[in-house]
Symmetry: D2
Subunit: 116 residues, 4 copies
C-alpha cells in the first residue's frame, strides 16, 4: 500500500519548498513543463531512423537519460499536486487496456481500438 | 537496490509481448507516443486559469488521472527499452539541480540557471 | 488562386535540396520536428502568468519570434511534402468551426463543442 | 509589404471576437493550444514507419490536413497577438540557417550546427 515513489516525491516537494517555487507550480504550469520536457526527449530521436534509435551511442544515451529524468520529475510533481498515485493509476489503465486490446484482435496491429 | 517499479515494468513488457507490439515500440516511436500523451494531458489545462487548474472538478480529475497514467506507461516502456532506471536517474538529476539552483540564488525566481 | 506562400515554400525546398536533406524529411520526421519546435515556443511561456504573456519584454519577443518562425518552417515543409495548401485548409477548418461553434452557444465559453 | 496572410488573420480575429474568446487567447494559452495540436498531428504518424508516412492513405491524409489547419490557425493567432509577421520571420530564420548550415558542412548530415 506504501507508494514506492514516496521518498522521491518527498525530496521533490522539499526541493520546491526550499526555493519557494510552489507559487509557479500550478498544475497548468507543470503540465506545460512536462510537455516541454517530453519534446526535449523527442528531439534526440527526431532525425534518427527507428533502427538507430534502438542502438544509441553512449554519449546520446547519457543525454536521453537526463531528459527521461526531467519528464519523470515533472510527472511526479504534477501527480503529487493532484493527489494521484501514479503506480495505481498505471495499473488501472493497464487493466482497461487489456479489455480494449484483447490479444486476438490486437496482435501484431498498431490500430487504435476504435478502428478494430 | 530493487527497482520499486519493476513489477509494473514487467506487466507492461508482458502486455506488449502478448500482442507482438515490440516491433512498433522502437525508442523513437515510444518517444513520439510519450510526447503525444503529454500533450493530451496539457489539453485539459489549456483554457483553464492557473487558479482553476489548482481546483479541478472531480470529472476533470478522473480524465487527467488517465492521461497521467498514459504518460507514465510510455515513460516506463521507453526507459525499460533503454535500460534506464527512472528513480535513480531522477535522483541524479535532483542532485544536479540542487547544485545548479542554490537556494540563495533561486529562491522565489522562475529564472533558468543560465540567466542568474 | 496562387498560393501566397509559394515563394517561401520554394526557398525551403531549395534549402533542403542543396543540403541533400530530403532523405531526413519524411513526413513522420517533420511532424516530430514540428512538435519539438512548438514545445520550444511553449517553453518561453511555461512559468509566465497569462498577464505576463500578454506583455513580453523586447528580449523575450525576439526569441519567441524565432521559435514562431521555426514552427512555421516545419509546418510549411510538412504541408508541402503532403501536397496540402495550408491557407485553403485553414479556411475550410474555419468554416467548419463556424458551424461547430455557433455564436449563441459558444459566446464567452471555452467549452469544447462536444460539451455543449 | 502586404502580408499575404492578412485576409485569413482578419477572419480568425473576427471569429474569436464574435465569440468573445479573446479573453482565453492569451499568448500563453495559444502556445499551449499550438503544442497540443502539433501533437495531435504527430499522433497520426507515431506508429508509422517513415516509408509509410511518405505514402499516406487518402483517409489518413484528410485527417492530417485538418490537423495541419489547426496548427496553422493557432500559429497565426499567436503571431497576430504578438505582432509578428510570420512570413518575414521565416525568411529571416532561413537566412540565418543558410549561415549556420553552409552547404559544404551540412550536406547529407542531420547533425545540429553546434555539432559540426
Amino acid at each position: 500500500m506504501n507508494d514506492p515513489l514516496q521518498p522521491l516525491i518527498d525530496s521533490l516537494r522539499q526541493f520546491a519548498d526550499e526555493r519557494n517555487w510552489q507559487q509557479f507550480h500550478s498544475p497548468k504550469n507543470l503540465a506545460c513543463a512536462l510537455s516541454v520536457e517530453a519534446a526535449e526527449l523527442l528531439e534526440h530521436f527526431q532525425w534518427l531512423s527507428e533502427a538507430e534509435s534502438r542502438t544509441l551511442t553512449e554519449h546520446k544515451l547519457v543525454a536521453v537519460r537526463e531528459e527521461l529524468a526531467d519528464v519523470f520529475i515533472y510527472l511526479l510533481q504534477l501527480a503529487d499536486k493532484l493527489g494521484v498515485d501514479l503506480v495505481a493509476a498505471a495499473e488501472s489503465k493497464l487493466a482497461a487496456n487489456r479489455a480494449k486490446y484483447p490479444v486476438e484482435k490486437a496482435a501484431s496491429s498498431s490500430k487504435k481500438y476504435t478502428e478494430f
